[in-house]
Amino acid sequence: MIQIIIKETKEFLRDKSNIFFFFIFPVMLVFLLGNLLANLDKAEEVIGEVRIHYGIEGISDIDFVTVKEFIKGLEDRKNFFFNETDDIASSIDLATDGGIDAVVLFKNDPMEIQIYEGTNRIKNRTVNSIMNGFTQLNKAVDIIIKNNKQALIDQPNYESDYIMHKDLGIKRTMLDYYAITMMTMMCFMSIMIGAICFMGERQEKTIIRLRIAPISRVKLFFGKILGLLPQTLLQILILMVFSSLLFGAHYALYLFDNIHLFFMFTVISFTMISLGAVYGLYIDVNPMAGILPVLWLMMFFSGTYSKEIVIEGLSKYLPIYQVQEAAFDLTIFGRHQKANTVIIVCLIISLAALVFGAMGFLRKEEK
């Protein structure tokens, strides 16, 4: 199986057109889209001001202190403006009209947090992210209270430090946006590599030699698919390294988050390769016609090429959109949850695809 993997990689690297299409092209695209479209898109370089109304109903004294501390910490950041309100309903109306950006309600004991979102996508995400951070923190506080109340009294200000850590400190540019969407695009494009991988062997007729060799078909299938992985990893790595070194695109602030991101994209690529292979085994339509248009349409409506092209009620059901969201969550806010969901979903899909593919490969009679 190792020989097959080595062979695949060699073959791939020797093909000069591959080098261009898979390595140079995406990096160039990030640069071009990032610089040219940045002006058109008038991106928020920073989040801007975020206005939040909040209400407090029946929470415990300790929670009350924590909430107040938390809000105070954020207001120190200068771009968050909090107003307490008793009339939640009209605040919600205000948020719906775009007068404010969100309404947050802290209520009950144990505390529950309700967020009513406004109209701005980016700001909504910011609010969600911050409140998520707070919830995490609050959980931690709860545990500390259960075990060692004193610690809390000794360290009254730690939560604002905690939030600061996850601060939106980097000035984000459109380059960052395209660095993510292009990477997503490349990962999804791996489906093409998967779909044509057996086609290549068939065209070169080498599939015959592979099939008469005393090596099991399932091994052959996995060897082929795993053989495509190194080149995909290389692609992602090159795009990440080059776009950040050459053009100064930002990914996540922390190495760990970047590794997480890399891992997520690896898993997605692997899934797409497996899906592609299954396509290649079962469907006779040329993937150039059968897959590419679908992929392009999906990317188009997922904001891959411009963040303005997002359609309410459609975009969020597109896998590419979800992956991009997960990647933004990870890089901008350091939130791992969506990325983890993506990874798990991908692993399940690729497992299914591999089982399906191995079965198909076992059964399929070469003509």
Partner: protein
Amino acid sequence: MSYVAVENLVKKYGDITAVDHLSFTVSKGEIFGLLGPNGAGKSTTLNIITTLTDFDKGKVTVDGLDIREHKAEIKRLIGMVPQDIAIYDHLNALENVKFFASLYGYGKSDLTRNAMEALEFVGLSDKIKVKPKQMSGGMRRRLNIACGIAHKPKLIVLDEPTVGVDAQSREHILNSIRLLRDRGATVIYTSHYMQEVEQICDSIAIIDKGQLIACGTETELVSMVTDVQTVFIKTKIPINFEKETFEKKIKLMPGVKGISEEDSVIKLDISVEQNNIGHIIQEFINFGLPIISIKSELPSLDTLFLTLTGRELR
């Protein structure tokens, strides 16, 4: 001793019967030629023997093993040279051969040695770093062969390995195939070039429309259509030559069907079956006729095919 046995083999593709109750055996250590026109079912038969394609009816054994039950073992014995060139364009000659041999599980050093041997064998040892794209058609054919034999198979199956190559490359390929046999391999070889098959095959099966038409050594096959072989013996007629006595004597020998003389060349029609040439030569010597050259002419397999099927081969 039969190494490959095909019994009542049937393979259908939908309505087309590609192989129709075909039976033949291949002896160990021989070159067996499978001869037939386009679409005769040669490739299909080979694909079945090499376990690539399943079949509908019949039985095939290789080295005494049933190919349905012992697929894995049989795969190890076989080296295939497919009709269509099957090599990777982006790998050089050595890498190609090494990769395919590696599928048979050799260690690294064995691998390189075997691959080099195979390349040397087909006369490409000075081209190991060359990629197929930069090779001529004949060289690619030879590389195609090298890829099929580097793992030292006991049974080598070649499907029209000489299609589209020049005379020199063809000679080289044919010689290599003989050499493979001399080293102990059993070879199955398909072609629709008559001369080739006549030249190198120890026994031959002629198939058409999936059916066996004739099978045997070249002589056996020819004797099916005609028993007569023409032999031309060039000699030098002495002055005191008793032509009539000589001709009478020869004519009376068993198997001789006719004799005539022209320009010191004696033309004999003799029976293929009762091949009596030794005794005839003896008479020449008795009559003081020196033998300058002997040329024998069998009807070609072309004629044979024409007679057996009523159709031209190509």
